[in-house]
Symmetry: C2
Subunit: 463 residues, 2 copies
């Protein structure tokens, strides 16, 4: 990265915007393109219907580290505008709530507004003289060999020069399609049998007319119902509302045809939610809000020579159940620059990035998928809780053992995802082995006790 090169970043969401800052810091000539209009010219608060994306994101360790790498000031600003979330709040069908803290030392994840975060990043970009923002530009074609990129705007086609094209344009990435024409890319796209539907839970108005959160804002609320679930996260801002998301198989959605079906369904499974939303508003939202699908995408390589690289959802769209999508994307940027700086050429930087990043991206993708089962089902299992409590006990009182819950490693550390996964599997084996050992021990004691008792008994009878 010796002389000033030109990079075209496609996608001005959080990940693409962060990448623009990193490239700007390193002295590149940066152009950041997006097919949408500047979100700052529209209303800031995102809404599902317009973007097809969840409005709340969970920012955790890796994401914050990513922000820090671009600007400490920026990172501080973001982390002071979040709602800290210390654990899960499990709601049962009777409306009872049980808190499951994420960390024994009180570490927390952070609910943050996607739209707001995006605006903060774009404002920061405005301060950099070597970044150009280009909205309303839809990618048409990349000619990587000629270093040309073609966009279409409302005024016609635009042809630009780019030494490097960065694809940060999400799950249905146009850059990835171009990459797949140039390179031999292994690719996998899998839809899970669940749709999601956002349902807003409005603020509660107190007797004195003040607005309050309808639920504890410092928890991620979950209503786990084995094959489906409702979850909800506090919104940042003055209105003190929550956004709930219902995740269910398509067939469950299909079964709910009339308002009465919906109310019956909620009365059975989420009785405590109805009074928070109100029947009318619940019905209105459920039937009018869009039902989103959930796709998981893996691919490799992420790059083509020194001409193109994919980051964020474009490289690894994952299901949202680990709250790692954006965090992982921010870590992509930070890792990418680690490799670019450690290598003499962009070519070898991208090469080592793909090789090193692949196993971590595959691991977090699998973990996110597995966490859907955990969130909607395992969190209520005794064995799951026994293991969680054991690991937390060891983590707290015997930190030298290095035992941490998987969630802890993923959310509160930079331990590479694939190593976190490996460690967790080993801990699981040890835990099951220990359970077996304890079981054997108890049996041994019992047998010894019986024999001993028999002897005493016999001695007593016969003496």
């Amino acid at each position: 990265m010796t002389d000033a090169k030109t990079v075209a970043i496609v996608g001005a969401g959080p990940v693409g915007s962060l990448a623009a800052l990193y490239f700007a810091n390193e002295g590149w000539n940066v152009s950041l393109y997006d097919r949408r209009n500047d979100p700052r010219l529209e209303k800031v608060q995102g809404s599902t219907s317009s973007t097809g994306k969840s409005i709340n994101l969970a920012l955790s360790h890796r994401g914050i580290e990513g922000l820090k790498g671009a600007s400490m000031k920026l990172s501080d600003m973001v982390t002071s505008n979040v709602v800290p979330v210390y654990g899960r709040m499990i709601h049962d069908t009777k409306g009872r709530q049980e808190s499951q803290p994420y960390d024994v030392h009180g570490q927390h994840i952070n609910a943050v507004d996607r739209g707001w975060l995006n605006v903060v990043l774009l404002d920061e970009i405005d301060e950099r003289p070597n970044v150009e923002l280009k909205f309303g530009h839809r990618l048409l074609r990349c000619d990587f060999d000629a270093k040309r990129v073609k966009f279409i705007t409302k005024d016609g086609e635009v042809d630009v020069n780019a030494d490097l094209v960065v694809g940060a344009d999400g799950a249905h990435s146009a850059v990835r399609n171009q990459l797949m024409r140039a390179a031999r890319v292994d690719f996998e796209q899998k839809y899970i049998d669940a749709l999601w539907c956002e349902i807003s839970i409005p603020a509660r108005v107190t007797e004195h007319g003040r607005e309050e959160y309808p639920l504890d804002p410092n928890h991620l609320h979950i209503w786990p119902r084995k094959t489906f679930m409702l979850m909800s996260l506090a919104n940042i801002g003055d209105d003190k509302s929550f956004t709930g998301t219902l995740f269910m198989p398509q067939s469950n959605f299909d079964d709910i045809t009339y308002p009465q079906d919906l109310l019956d369904f909620f009365r059975t499974h989420f009785p405590d939610v109805i009074p928070l939303i109100g029947e009318e508003y619940l019905v209105q939202q459920f039937f009018s809000n869009p039902k989103g699908s959930l796709v998981s995408i893996k691919c490799t390589p992420y790059h083509y020579l020194d001409r193109c690289v994919l980051i964020g959802d474009a490289a690894h769209a994952m299901v949202p159940f680990y709250g790692q999508g954006m965090n992982c994307g921010f870590e992509d940027v930070q890792q990418l620059f680690m490799h670019l700086k450690a290598n003499n050429t962009v070519y070898s930087g991208l090469e080592t990035y793909t090789l090193a990043r692949r196993q971590d991206l595959f691991a977090i993708s699998d973990l996110a998928m597995a966490n859907y089962v955990e969130m909607r089902s395992s969190v209520t299992s005794k064995m799951y809780l026994a293991r969680k409590h054991t690991e937390e006990f060891l983590y707290k009182y015997f930190p030298g053992l290095g035992v941490r819950t998987l969630y802890n490693m993923v959310s509160f550390s930079s331990v590479p995802y694939h190593i976190a996964l490996k460690r967790s599997i080993r801990q699981g084996q040890i835990f099951r082995g220990a359970c077996f050992g304890v079981g054997l021990g108890i049996m041994g004691v019992a047998v010894y006790g019986v024999l001993r008792f028999k002897k005493i008994w016999q001695g007593w009878v016969w003496s």
Copy 2:
């Protein structure tokens, strides 16, 4: 399929052309589109460099059944213009040849010229009044809801009406891309670490100036070398040549930089091939012919409502090692019509087609992948041959047992691929069990013999 509907078939290769005949037979209004020009206006004999596809295909049972479903006359015509191939001819590094017949009853697969077969199908289409052929049409977009399809031609964009769009446009299908925008399609694309390069083996000219095949034309010739292989199939036509294909990991290709490297490589691994081609022609071909990649694609569903369906490589590009690509594509067409006829609506016909076909397409895709190992390595293993001979023995002398080799079921029957795979796995388990039993029996006899002998020996010594 009551009143005359309109179908737009995209891709006028063998599978798309066969589909056009089936739809025409059922009274549909058929339009068959292809981005290329009419191959009949160019030279008939395909060449790798222009099409990126192998010029020889292996037509077997399923393919012939597919042709029969369109026209018995057509099928008879095709099967009388093939070179029958009765087995594999294994070449070792000393140049020795060993025949491994495909079938104990002499059933054979058929080498056929891709270009010629395509032309035969197009000529047959010309006889049908309800099929329009449209070359030079590249698909731009499908609006399935409005039943509109947009193509681009050299004269500009063309907009057509289609109740149903059939994607028969190969591994990099444009129709599939459109389908993936409309439906939630699970998709997997995997490149194997092997490239291929075609090398022509010219006819041998006898003393009397007559041209002869340089190798036995009734065998598929294989030079299995564990991690790579050369294979070769006879060409149909007057020139009596063979087309060889070298399959090797990219790194092996990279290692061959100079003509001398190539000749050393061939002298070590394929010494008997050099005199057949000649050093100069070999060098010229290797360095100038393109190196193709091999991709395996799985997806599901294959359809969207009653508006779109994928067949052939567009639905299931597979590696070429089972010689089933086109056969499977022809079977797709035949199966698709079975389902369309068995259902009242196109909608439910496509629905049941996807559900029923999926497991077979996944099975043959996996089998093709596994056959790469078989062809380049297993065919020389004693265990492999022992199992093959055992299965063939049982097939020949105890047909009532229903034991057949996997190859036999795949190539000479219409047993659904996934059932063939299942049966083969079971036969393998039984075979290994029997080997174990025979081993135990031999050991038992040996132990008995030793004891017996000891007794006799002892009796003899002591008596």
